[in-house]
Subunit: 336 residues, 2 copies
């Protein structure tokens, strides 16, 4: 039987909050009888919901961090915001994980500043699953650290590999460095330094990957700095979005194509579902002392439900404990 | 009437050389009565072709640079290779442009070392057209410089804007910096420095772009360092390739979907043609003293034909002269 887990949820996170958050939370609770939720937000939102749902507790908060605010400043200032309180519940051990579809920057700041880093972790990283039609692959860092040192990437690699293996069920994941050529000596100075350190320190490291390897799923975990990772992730989203939209336009362009569309509808719906980011519900911030998932701002109720379920799974698989063990086993000054 | 232009062509460049190169060269000559070609390669390849085609001259070479060789070393050593000789013809003024679908690294090295930089250009950059279904956009640098300084990007921006306006017919192109957030203060330290310099020095600069803006064609010229640009370009190619292949699989999966495929075939073929890299035939190396286009290794005859035509167009539009004027007009120590 699945372990009892408590997840704190930011009722105000996301473009369509609180409605889709409530709907997604209800679905997550219904799907997992060993899940408890502490819902953080204004009294008029969280109290009626908690009163009408089993295993849900209301945590009333009075402040709200908007998308436009400076993340770290907002987190420091608005101590009674749903986001900061949700993280504090993890810090204090009342919850094992936190989920929000709010401002990514503010979530990263709250995760790092409020929940806090695992001892030995240099920088937490944002990790995501890229839902390739070939098979899902993991990429990190996708935006927590715009400026990285090579030894950060060694930890990102290990954290990404643990996540891939424990949570995404990829056995013995092949870890590759995102670079601009396959050969060892290729790439920027930074990439070359990363390659050398990964070669020395990451047991699952298999070499360099290029941009086209991501959707082709030629490796399992793609490691990169948060700048390159974020540009790459958004490039994939944009490319897939424009192509699927263009094909939709083609299908609707005449009577003949509309008939064609009817014939292939099922296959296209399957593809659309496969490549949808909703399946994984968000990106975990790995390296902090609790499961912490940042959902897409545009999350629908399904994405919220899956994000909360994924938060619970990360907690149950003890990803935090495994990361702690891995970093404490590092040679004291490796790569510095 | 179009100006008389001579382009030197590397008969040995590309995975399918020399056959597709000869076929593409013949098509380019047939399409443009004011085009002359100097075909560089082994006697048994180039002499029979030149003898049987008007406006084509054979330039016999005895060496060949393979994909696996160290680019700069190979260019320095193999002075009688088709690639080096083709570039030398431009340097000596016998040709105004050079085209090869050979090793990108060797082409970049030969372009820079043999043809040479335009006075004032800090680093030549590899520029490409991304054939978005929305409209074509330009991106540079896509791989010539893995390590960049912020002031290089100011020149990349100007060179890309000149190319977009003169060769791709994008009037008054909007130039954006590829970054990880729209706001001015977003991004790595490097990106922030680039943003500030572009703001001061590039008249067409409109701000930051994100990865998803590329295929959505929300800007016309995307400026970035050669590492990020190369990863991004290959990510787009890989994403589009996997999605189109998956859709092809769906269309062939049953009798019903095959009927559907017949109904939408024309539209899908149009899309495939629109997003094909063949249309532009390759990426120009901007900032060297001649038109110099690097084709895709997998170029077919159409791509070769279009690449040669594009080389002639760059020469006719005097892109080299305009870049020379632009860099000589820069404040002497701008951004250094």
């Amino acid at each position: 039987m699945a372990e009892n887990i408590t997840v704190s949820v930011d009722a105000l996170g996301g473009d369509n909050a609180p409605d889709v958050v409530l709907e997604g939370t209800a679905a997550a609770l219904a799907a997992d009888p060993n899940l408890n939720v502490i819902l953080c937000g204004p009294a008029d939102v969280v109290e009626p919901f908690a009163a009408s749902h089993d295993r849900c507790q209301a945590q009333v908060t009075t402040e709200f961090i908007t998308m436009g605010e400076h993340p770290a400043q907002a987190v420091r200032k608005k101590k009674d915001s749903s986001l900061v309180v949700g993280c504090r519940l993890v810090k204090e051990g009342q919850a094992q994980g936190f989920f929000s579809a709010g401002s990514t920057g503010a979530c990263l700041a709250a995760g790092t500043l409020v929940i806090g880093r695992i001892k030995g972790v240099k920088r937490p990283c944002l990790c995501t699953v890229i839902p390739s039609p070939v098979r899902p692959v993991v990429m990190c860092d996708v935006g927590a650290n715009a400026d990285c040192k090579p030894d950060y990437l060694v930890q990102f690699a290990r954290m990404g590999a643990i996540y891939a293996e424990r949570v995404i069920d990829i056995k013995d994941p092949r870890v590759a460095l995102l670079n601009i050529g396959e050969e060892e000596e290729k790439g920027s100075e930074f990439a070359q330094q990363c390659h050398a350190l990964l070669r020395q320190n990451e047991p699952n490291f298999v070499g360099n990957a290029e941009g086209r390897d991501i959707l082709e799923a030629n490796f399992d975990v793609f490691v990169t700095d948060g700048f390159t990772g974020n540009v790459t992730l958004k490039t994939i989203e944009g490319t897939a979005g424009v192509l699927l939209k263009t094909i939709k336009g083609i299908l609707g362009s005449s009577l003949k194509t509309k008939i064609g569309a009817l014939c292939i509808k099922d296959g296209l719906m399957d593809l659309k579902q496969t490549v949808s980011a909703d399946t994984y519900g968000g990106a975990p911030l790995l390296g902090v002392k609790g499961a912490c998932i940042v959902g897409h701002g545009s999350s629908n109720a399904t994405a919220i439900k899956n994000g909360i379920a994924m938060t619970a799974r990360i907690a149950r698989e003890d990803v935090v404990g495994m990361i702690g063990q891995a970093v404490s086993a590092e040679p004291a000054k490796a790569g510095e």
